[in-house]
């Protein structure tokens, strides 16, 4: 079909990035924590794994949207991330784009 082998069922283009940025807007978090948070806060609707989240965090950091702060915590090495001003701007842009697409799809789904 339109081949639908997506574990999450599709409709997720760009969503993980948006969610990461939004979560970090409220508080500093580390990667593993973000993976769990997305699962919990979406009621297991979005279950993006570490194989997606970690590379995304690295890309966002390299792009200047996030700042990384390594820290030891009980023998465990964690990397905490915070939003930079660039990240905040990116979050606003993505949020805006998300609602635009949302409205657009809604207009077709339930017309006039």
């Amino acid at each position: 079909m339109a081949d639908e082998k997506r574990g999450n069922g599709g409709f997720l283009a760009g969503v993980p990035e948006l969610l990461i940025l939004r979560l970090l807007q409220d508080q500093e978090m580390y990667g593993y924590e973000i993976v769990q948070a997305i699962r919990q806060q979406t009621g297991d609707v979005i279950t993006s794994g570490e194989g997606l989240i970690y590379p995304l965090l690295h890309a966002l950091e390299k792009g200047g949207a996030l700042r990384a702060r390594p820290q030891e915590a009980g023998g465990r090495r964690r990397i905490y991330y915070t939003l930079t001003s660039k990240g905040v701007r990116r979050l606003f842009d993505l949020t805006d784009e998300w609602s635009r697409v949302n409205r657009a799809v809604g207009q077709v789904l339930r017309p006039g």
Copy 2:
């Protein structure tokens, strides 16, 4: 960044398929017409081109969601598509999935 080279700006995974099915629920349409309709009804927010729509129509037909009916109209060869019962089911499933993801993202964006 998360590299954002999508002409439409992201957030479109699976959306074109959903829109096609929804449009065909109301009336028989041909490919070129669908491309224009998506553009118009979304106010140019979603501008998926023929390079995306035609292959999608073929895949949906092959998958049994659509039935194709070729017809000549004023020297112009058009291929009209209609929904099969399988296509209707697929439309319901995608619509459902779309709102689930929508709610899930919303929960993260505006918590509390």
